[in-house]
Each structure stands twice: as C-alpha cells, then as structure tokens.
Symmetry: C2
Subunit: 346 residues, 2 copies
C-alpha cells in the first residue's frame, strides 16, 4: 500500500501457516453481504467444491485458489499419479476462467516442483502460490494507476458483475481504478448493474463499494442502456474471465449488451484485466466453452415460493468482440484492442 | 373466437352484474403465478389502489380498469364535483400509460354521460366500458392476425415484460401473434426476458405461455444480446405503454437495450399496440414522465434476507427511438415507424 492507493476493502483469500499444517482461508462469497463467513479448508476436495459452488469466484482469485489448492493436493497425494489427478480436479472445477487451469498447470510444470523430493513439494508449491498472490496484488495496483489515468475526468462509471477486491488479493481489476480515484478525492459515482441471475453486482460489488465508502447505486441490468440515453453514464469498466488472442472478451453474461449500448452512445467501454487473463491459446471468442447453469439462477429469486414452471436458459458468460472495447486496462498500461502487446499473452 | 385464433389463456378483468349492484372482478397479478386470486371490487378507492400496487397492469387493461372504475365512481358520487374528483384519482393512479387517463377522460366527456340524468350515469358509463372492452378484444384479434403475417416464417421470438392476455381482455398485444401462430401449428419458440426488477416475464409471460402450451424459455435480461450474437433469435416483439407522435416507444425498462441489440444483429424488432396506446399529444419520448420506483424492486429479490444497504435507481420505463422499430403491429395493419397512419392517433 502506497500513498496514492487505498487499502483493499476486503480480503477474500489467505493461506495461514506452512505447507505441512496450514489451511486455506476463503471468504464464502455465496453468503455475502448478509454473512461474512471464513471457510478454513484443509483438503483439495473442499476447495474444488468451493470453486464449483462459486464460494470462490473471479478469474484472478480462481487462479490463486487453484495454486493454494495444489499445496493441499501435495499434502494428500501418496504418489505422482494422485497429485496429477487432484491437480486435474482443481483445473477442471470451472472451465471458463483461464486463470484456474493455467495456475494449476503452471505450478505443476514448474522445474522446482518437478525436481523437488516429494516431501518438499508442498513447500515449493506454497512458495509458488505466495509469489502468484504477490504478483496479482501488484497487478491490481498497476491496473488501479493506469485505469485512473485512462478514466481521466470521467466520473459516472458503470460496471457489471463484480471485478473488485473480492476477486483478487488486492484492489481488484475493474474497480481498482475507481478505488484509486475515490482515494484521491475525485467525485466518483459508480452505477452497479445488479447482474442477474446471480446478482454479483447487488450482492458483491455494492458490498465492497459500500465498505470502501464509494458512492454508488444499483440498477436492473436492463436499465443501463436507458441511463446512457439520458446522458447519465460517462464510461463503463468491466473485468474479464478471459481475453482471447484477438481481443475478444469473455465475461459475465450481460457484458456484451453493455458494450453494445456504450458503442451506440459513444460511451467509452474499458476492460480491466491482469496478464493471467490474457489467453494466447484461444484465438477468438468463438472457441470458448460457455458455461450454462440450467435452472440454478433465473428461477432462484422469484417472489414468494412459486414461479412459473418454465424452462430457462442460463448462459453464465457472453463474448464481447474486441471491436467494441475502447481500451484494455492492464498492469502493463492501457491499450487499444488492436495494439495489445505480446507481453500480455506471455 | 374464430377458427384461426385460440381462446385467450386467461381473463384478467370482468365486470359482473349491472351498474347499480355490479362488481369489478380483477385477477391480482402481484400474486401470479403462485396464486390465482380474483379481487371483487366495489369502490373507486379499491381500484385506484389496485392500479397503484400493480395488481392491474398493462396499458390496455389499465384503460379498462379506469373505465369500469368510473361506474363505481358514479355509484359513489353524490354530485358532479365528487364524480370528477374520483375520476381524477383514477386517471392519475399511474402516469406513464396513456390508456388510463384517456379512457377515464374520454368516458367522462362522452355526450351520453353528460346528458344523462345522474341516476342513469352509471348505466351509461357501464355501456361505454363494455364497448371499450369489446373494442380492445377485437383489437387483439386484429393484432394477432397482422402480427402473424408480419412474423412470417420467423419462429424464435424474444419478448420483454408481459404484453399478453393478462394486459387485455383478449389475446394480448405482443403475444397475440405468437398465440395465433402456435394455434395454427407453427413451431413457435418464445424467449422470455425475465424483466427485472419486477419479473413480469418470469412471473406473468411464462405463466400465460405455459397455460397456452406455447414452448418458451426464460432468460436473464442480460442474456438476450448474447443469444442474438449466437444466432438464436429470429425476431423480437414487445408491447408499449405509449407510442409518441413521432413513433418513439415508451415501454418497460430494458426494452431499449433489446432494440439496440436487435439493430446491431439485424434482428427485426416489432412493437405491437392497440390504437389506445398511440398518443398524438406527446410529440416525442423526451416529453414522457418516466416513473421511478425507488427501492421497491431491485432489492426485493436478493437471496436470503440481507443485501447490501446500497442506494438503487429504478426507472420503470425507457424510451426506444422510433428509428429502432422495424414495424408497428396494430389493429389497422403493420406499419414502418415513418408511415404510421393518422387514424392510429385519432
């Protein structure tokens, strides 16, 4: 933490102790904002389950959960085959965010891990996870500074889903520049899409903006375009689950509609992401598997207990083509989609 | 009901009895689909309250509720001043739908009402309301036929909010052509925007499509643009709360974003409305008062009991500029926004 940046309003994940006896502490994000429950995890299976049920969420945080989960896997595994199987269960716990599989596979392929005697592997994996955590935190700070510059005098900023402190070990991605500007005294106002079906905006973004004291208001996702037409939105900034090689952005369902409305109204549309989100292995958005969560969200929040017994379709993500992105805010700087530097994908 | 059209799947309003002793039966739409409660109303104040709390909703039905409400007002009023005051309370119960104020003021200004001796006024007003009901039902049938023609071979049709049988005494407006096509054996599939914050799509459109056996699936509002990008939507059709003189459409918040996404993807965007929705007195959408329902919807459906204690903004409607409308489906036929006939506004 330095003078130009605030302390993150919330810490969603922390490893406590050493590799042999330590635990992974996770804030259960399914219970927020009503209850701040910290889960203390000691097994790979628990972490896989936490990832699957969205207790841990957000691309950067999923990578960290995978990396720390590997420390637990190394402790449990009796041989290489078991370690690989457990690593695989972590990497596959959710398909869309590239960070998860990349962090798990990257750590497992690390020369230090491969050359370590089995009893030492956990300690080496813990060191790798800690380094990843520090890198992600520093990436948030860099995004905060570059994003604050990119936003300039734009003050009424719309965001979708939650790409804040809850998805990183630092200030977040999309919200980081807003925290920085607010910390410096700029009169920021954040429009928070509630983000159906799982309400990450209403539950999580509103929660952490409230903790940080950043002025904001929550709106139904369908209200965003109308706000733009009324001249009430100066910019939009969102995170990403994956940025493809051509700049296509895979992010929470509803992002694409925000980008279309921004383009129509001449409102800048920014995507903030750390390097771990840029994926050279996926050429375009057309190649990304879109998770469908049948029936677990759209009917979840209907009034009372009974709703129409209708089928639902619940794509969890959508693809925003690169051409609709005004600029990517990254730890390396702010770039037009046609000028993304290769280093982001390295 | 004729051979080419089905019976409406639900009847949301009916006057029972004569002007002196009759009651207005209203299906309480706030309880649907969990409970089908019919309210029997005998006072103007009850009907005003039903309109305000959205138990009765939808532009055409609001007009009818106003017209039948006047019969109750005439029964209660001891003099002309009282009748005018009660009529005024009906006309002002909700500001956005033009049908309500128009039906009330139109009936009150009718020469037959003005020339009738006070004891006869209720009977004359009942006759006027019944005629309006028959006209609205016939308008639904005409919209059903014109819309079925306009949709042609388009089969996967997206709709927003509820503009079906529940908002009219007939087959509805936006849903009427879909009921007609389904009745004729076309393989219609309806994409139903859930329509936050009050979920009229998930609660009401899904309910009546289910009753009618029309295949459909509910989606989060933010998923619509992504469905279009994936080529899964052939057309969109919505109702309107008001069509301005220049063709601007005032409708449920979220409609504008659907129209923008349709334009971007080359998906036809239809607006279905009876004549009572066309308002020559409002030149453009900029002149329409947009109801804001602070705090009663966006936080209403959050999981559990606690949500972030954040401000919300809740515009109930938005304005879709005429240029985004492919065609208006009306009882007089289907028209481009630049070719709306004056008779629609008469």
């Amino acid at each position: 933490v330095t003078a130009d940046l605030p302390v993150p309003p919330v810490l969603p994940l922390a490893w406590q102790g050493d590799a042999e006896d330590g635990t992974l502490a996770l804030l259960d994000q399914t219970l927020l904002p009503g209850r701040e429950l910290v889960l203390l995890r000691r097994t790979t299976a628990e972490v896989v389950d936490d990832i699957r049920r969205l207790a841990v969420r957000g691309a950067p945080l999923l990578g960290l959960a995978g990396a720390y989960g590997l420390v637990l896997a190394a402790r449990e595994a009796r041989d290489d085959a078991q370690l690989r199987a457990k690593a695989d269960s972590l990497a596959r716990a959710r398909p869309t965010a590239v960070n998860l599989a990349r962090a798990v596979k990257g750590a497992l392929a690390d020369a230090r891990v491969r050359s370590a005697p089995p009893p030492r592997r956990g300690a080496v994996l813990l060191e790798i996870a800690r380094r990843l955590e520090a890198e992600e935190r520093a990436a948030c700070d860099a995004i905060a500074r570059h994003g604050a510059l990119a936003l300039g005098g734009l003050r009424r900023v719309l965001t979708h889903c939650n790409a804040g402190a809850l998805v990183t070990p630092g200030l977040g991605t999309a919200l980081a520049p807003l925290y920085a500007l607010h910390h410096r005294g700029a009169r920021i106002h954040v429009w928070v899409d509630e983000t159906r079906p799982l309400l990450q905006g209403l539950r999580l973004t509103a929660y952490e903006l409230g903790k940080a004291g950043v002025p904001h208001a929550v709106l139904a996702d369908g209200a965003a375009a109308g706000l733009m037409r009324r001249g009430l939105v100066d910019a939009a900034i969102v995170g990403a689950d994956r940025v493809c090689a051509n700049g296509d952005v895979v992010n929470k369902v509803g992002t694409y509609g925000v980008a279309l409305a921004c383009r129509h109204h001449g409102v800048p549309f920014f995507v903030a992401a750390p390097r771990s989100t840029f994926d050279a292995a996926t050429p375009t958005g057309a190649e990304v598997e879109i998770e469908e969560r049948v029936g677990d969200g759209t009917r979840y929040l209907a009034p009372g207990t009974a709703v129409a017994d209708s089928p639902t379709t619940e794509p969890a993500f959508d693809v925003t083509p690169a051409a609709l992105v005004s600029a990517f805010v990254t730890p390396l700087g702010t770039f037009a989609p046609t000028e993304l530097p290769p280093a982001l994908f390295a």
